[in-house]
Every structure is written in structure tokens, then in C-alpha cells.
Symmetry: C2
């Protein structure tokens, strides 16, 4: 591998000037610069990042802080990581997953997710390197999130537009803001369409197929809903099973909608209408944002929301009320 010294020798300049061409090309006379650039080209010069890292204290490595309670084999997280790694790799940044808060190993920046408010605060205080958060916070941290409120609103609106007025909802019962936001969206859409809110149509559920099944069964047996909005696809799968259990044909007799859309564009089954989160794109955005922040530590803090989009799988899943 050619070094800067080799390039300097070939171009007849000092190593320092070669370094300048790389780091602040404008400060070099263009004639000199061209000489050096062609020497770099001839020698196939590529900087030794280890040497650079040693002196600049930058490693060209990014850490993904993923709390232990998140399962890395989860498709949602894997898709996110795929998006992140796509952008990082293209920029020759390596990355490593970090399951613990502390690390004695250097990195240039951190992408964090699944933190509560207290931890957001910690992130701001303890990390003295660039951070980007997948989530929401009022603190001065770059963050990117899904617009859950809008997702809940748009889906409810869509169901209403298909002629349903009695819309059940299964809310995820977790200490997290996203189910609340989706639920708020549902309520707002009802208000905007002058449809009364019926608390009997609401169930809280653990985010599992099994509990979704149970809660959907309750709604199907005890109410006259004609549509059911499940705040995750996992719940929706349980609801589909519950519909089969009570012999209601989907979507003729009961329309079922989910939320997430992570797996379901890969799998043909089940034919579920859902709110697809742009997870891969969010991953890409997290990485881009972090790299921008690393380049420019004093730039204004960014807050971005990505809209989820309704995804209708096929004709059999249309929410039309006959």
C-alpha cells in the first residue's frame, strides 16, 4: 500500500502538502494539487485510517446502542440495521452493536434507540460524541422517528372512508409513547369525521399474537364492530385468527387492519392491510444524520418524522364494507 510519503516523493513535494490535498484542498495551489492528485492516482493511494485515527482521535467507527431488552434477531430491528449499515458502509464507516451503556472503546458517534426519557438525558450528558436517536425527545439531540400519530389518524380515516363507523381498536399496553400516539390518531380521526368515540370498542393488549387473539375475540363477541384496527401486525394476526374462530369472514363481515408492515411485504401471506413504517429508510436517515453531525458538530439540531404509509396487500384484504 502506497503511503503519503510515496506520493510526496513521486510528486516532488512534502508529505504535509499531500495531507493538505486530502484535508483542505483549497489551501493548495491547483498546479501542485494536480501533480499530487495524479501521483495518488498512479500509486493507487488510499489513506491509512488507522494512522489517521491515532492522531485525530477518530476511528471511522460508529456504535449502535441497542438496549438488551431489544432482540437483535427481530425483523424490525434487522431492517433498521440493514438501512444503517447500508449508508455507513458506503462511507467506509464500520460499526458495531453495543448492548451496554458503557464502552471503553472509542467511536466517532452513536446511534441509540429504545431509550426512555431518563436515558435520553444520560445520552446527552454522558456521551461527549455525536449521537442520533431513533425516537423522540425535547432534548437537544438529533432525532428521527415514525409519525405514529399520523399513522393512526390516516388508517382510521381510511377505514372510515370505506364506510365503517364502528371501528374497534386494540392498543398495545406498553410503557412507550408510540401506542398512545397511534391511539390519539384514531381518536382524532373519529372527531374530525364526527363519529362518536365508543370506549367499549377499545382493548389493551400485550403485543403478542396470543393476547391479540383474546382481545379481538372479546370485541368480536361482545360488540357490533365492523372493522378492527390493531396497533401492530402481530396483534392483527391474532385478530385474523379470532375472526376465523367466530366464523366471521374477513373482510366481508369484519375488516382487520394492522400496523408496522415490516415482514409483510416479503411474505405473500397474510393478506393484511397495514400501516407500513419505512424502517429501512429510517435506518439510512439515522446513519446519514450521524455522519453529517460528525462532520459538523455544531450544526443545528435536527428532528425528523417519517410518515408510515397504508399498504393494501391485495383485493381480498380491502377494507370495503361490501
Amino acid at each position: 500500500m502506497a503511503t503519503m510519503k510515496d506520493v510526496a516523493l513521486k510528486a516532488g513535494v512534502s508529505v504535509m502538502t499531500v495531507s493538505r490535498v486530502i484535508n483542505s484542498p483549497d489551501s493548495v495551489k491547483s498546479e501542485t494539487k494536480n501533480k499530487i492528485l495524479s501521483a495518488m492516482n498512479d500509486l493507487k493511494f488510499h489513506p491509512n485510517y488507522a494512522a489517521k485515527a491515532l492522531v485525530t482521535n477518530r476511528t471511522r467507527t460508529v456504535h449502535l446502542l441497542i438496549p438488551n431488552q431489544l432482540e437483535t434477531a427481530d425483523p424490525y430491528l434487522m431492517t433498521l440495521i440493514a438501512g444503517i449499515s447500508d449508508v455507513l458502509s458506503k462511507n467506509y464507516y464500520a460499526f458495531l452493536l453495543r448492548r451496554e451503556w458503557d464502552s471503553h472503546y472509542k467511536c466517532d458517534g452513536v446511534i441509540a434507540m429504545g431509550l426512555n426519557e431518563e436515558e435520553d438525558q444520560q445520552l446527552l450528558e454522558k456521551m461527549n460524541i455525536p449521537c442520533v436517536l431513533f425516537g423522540d425527545t425535547n432534548l437537544s439531540i438529533d432525532c428521527i422517528n415514525v409519525n405514529d400519530q399520523k399513522g393512526g389518524y390516516d388508517m382510521t380515516n381510511y377505514i372510515l372512508q370505506n364506510g365503517h363507523e364502528k371501528i374497534g381498536i386494540i392498543v398495545i399496553d406498553e410503557d412507550n409513547t408510540f401506542p398512545v400516539k397511534r391511539y390519539n390518531g384514531y381518536q382524532q380521526a373519529l372527531r374530525d369525521n364526527d363519529i362518536p368515540f365508543n370506549p367499549n370498542y377499545v382493548r389493551y393488549s400485550n403485543n403478542t399474537e396470543g393476547d391479540g387473539f383474546t382481545k379481538a375475540l372479546e370485541l368480536l363477541e361482545s360488540t357490533d364492530i365492523t372493522a378492527l384496527f390493531c396497533l401492530s401486525d402481530v396483534l392483527a394476526l391474532g385478530a385474523l385468527r379470532a375472526a376465523r374462530e367466530v366464523g366471521k369472514v374477513v373482510p366481508k363481515e369484519i375488516s382487520i387492519a394492522g400496523f408496522d408492515g415490516v415482514l409483510f411485504d416479503q411474505v405473500a401471506e397474510p393478506h393484511l392491510t397495514t400501516m407500513k413504517q419505512p424502517v429501512y429508510e429510517i435506518g439510512q436517515a439515522l446513519a446519514s444524520e450521524l455522519l453529517t453531525r460528525i462532520e459538523n458538530p455544531f450544526k443545528k439540531v435536527t428532528k425528523k418524522l417519517f410518515d408510515p404509509k397504508i399498504m393494501i396487500r391485495n383485493s381480498t384484504s380491502k377494507l370495503n364494507k361490501d
Copy 2:
């Protein structure tokens, strides 16, 4: 961050001896060693990998060579990468995805996949660093693969044991060895059970739900098969749809089996019997193997096969013939 110099000062030794404690602890008198270890502990010393990288020419970074035709957002690949990153991250190795054969950036090792024979050869010749291959080759490269032959054999055997004798098969029509191996397993199982092979029961198909549907339809309409072994889950989904299309109840009138099992342990639907590949574990093994090879470049070449396992989703998917 404390450096080796700080540790040396505190322990009253030279930097060199601190370095020895890290790299060849046996060469240091245990008394000295303990003094140094406790100094390292007090100062929370952790080596600066950039400095180490510079002098040892090792980067603590691994490249994943993923040919461009492979989609990184594919669940199979994401699961594999999750397994790989799990092990690498635990060992503080960063990694980056590499879509092109050439890289001017240093790394300590490469995990490659999806290569043809010619490329395997290239891998051996061009890379002068440790490599591990996800796949098969007779060349002197560490490799890890799925035992596809056994997967095909075991599934066929299982279907036979459930009383079926007329077993259709949809083979993936790709320039790749794995469908052939699975198909061979099918044929071998038939022979071992003295069941005649019927070429009319065989269809070749693109690995898509749509083509799976078409080919399954052909088999269901033109033959008397009572079971259908699809060499991928995607094909099996098409087959399930074809069964619905012709009004055959699964599994009462037609049993359907797939192969892969990547998504289907996450999703409750569809209830499909399949051969689950241990993809996450394979990813972990690829990374472990590479790290071992990096530590010990002259060790014997390893060839490992992972057995896929039959996964029966639930009672409705049992392959029992009434």
C-alpha cells in the same frame, strides 16, 4: 483515556512490560504482572486499537462481501448478518458490508457469500487475508454451509412416515447447487423407502410466490399427489394459494411443506411445515470461524455443515394423512 505509559508509570515498569502483559502475559514474572494488572484496573486502561492497528497492520475490522445481486434487506440475509454482528461485536470487531470485490481499505478478514466457483477461486488467490465462506467449495477455504441434502432427505422421510407415497416436489430453477442437493435428498429418501420416483410429480420453478402458485396448480390439477414438498417457503406460499384455488383443504386433502423457515417463526401465519435453516447460528459460526482463523492463520481448514430442522407450526399444518 489512560495509556500504557500511564500504566507503566503507576506500576513502576516500562511501557514495554505493560505491552507484554497484554500480548504475551506468560513472559512476565507474576509479581510484576499483578502490579501492572492492578494499575490497569485502577486506571481503567483499555488499549487504543488505532495505535495497535497502525503498528500491527491489523484493523479489528472485518468485511462482509455480499455480491450486488443479493438484497441486503432480505430477511434471510439480515438474519445471517445479525448472527455475524452478534459475535463480531462481542469481540469488539467492527464490520462493514462490501458490495464490490475490490477494496482499498484494510481489514483483518472477509466473510464471503453467494459466490460461484470461479469467484471462490479468486477469493483464495486475490485475498491475502483470512476468509470464511458461506457455501461450499473443495478449495482450501474455511467454509460453513447448510446441509441441504439432509434437509431434503429428512423432510421427504417425514412426509413418507406420515403415510404419503405420492409426493410432488417443486424445485427451484436457479444456477445454484442448493436446490439440486435438496432434490437429491428427496430422491434418496424415496429410494431408501422403496417408493418409486415419478418424474410427473416434479416441477421446476422460479423462486417466487407467483411461479410457485402456477407450478403447484399444474401438479394439483394433473396428478394425484397427496403431499407437495416445495424447496422454499416462498414457493410453499404459492402452493397454499393454489390449493385454495382448486378447493383442496390443507392438510386434509393435500399436505404442503416448505424449506427455509426464516420468517415463519416470527409470523404466526401461515401455518406451514418447513425445514428451518439455523441462519442466525450460521452467522455466528461464520464470525467465530473467521476470528479463530485471524488468531491462528495456519490452522487446519474447517468445513462445517449445519443441519436444518423440521419445524411444525401447529396442529393444522401436520402432514398426517387423516
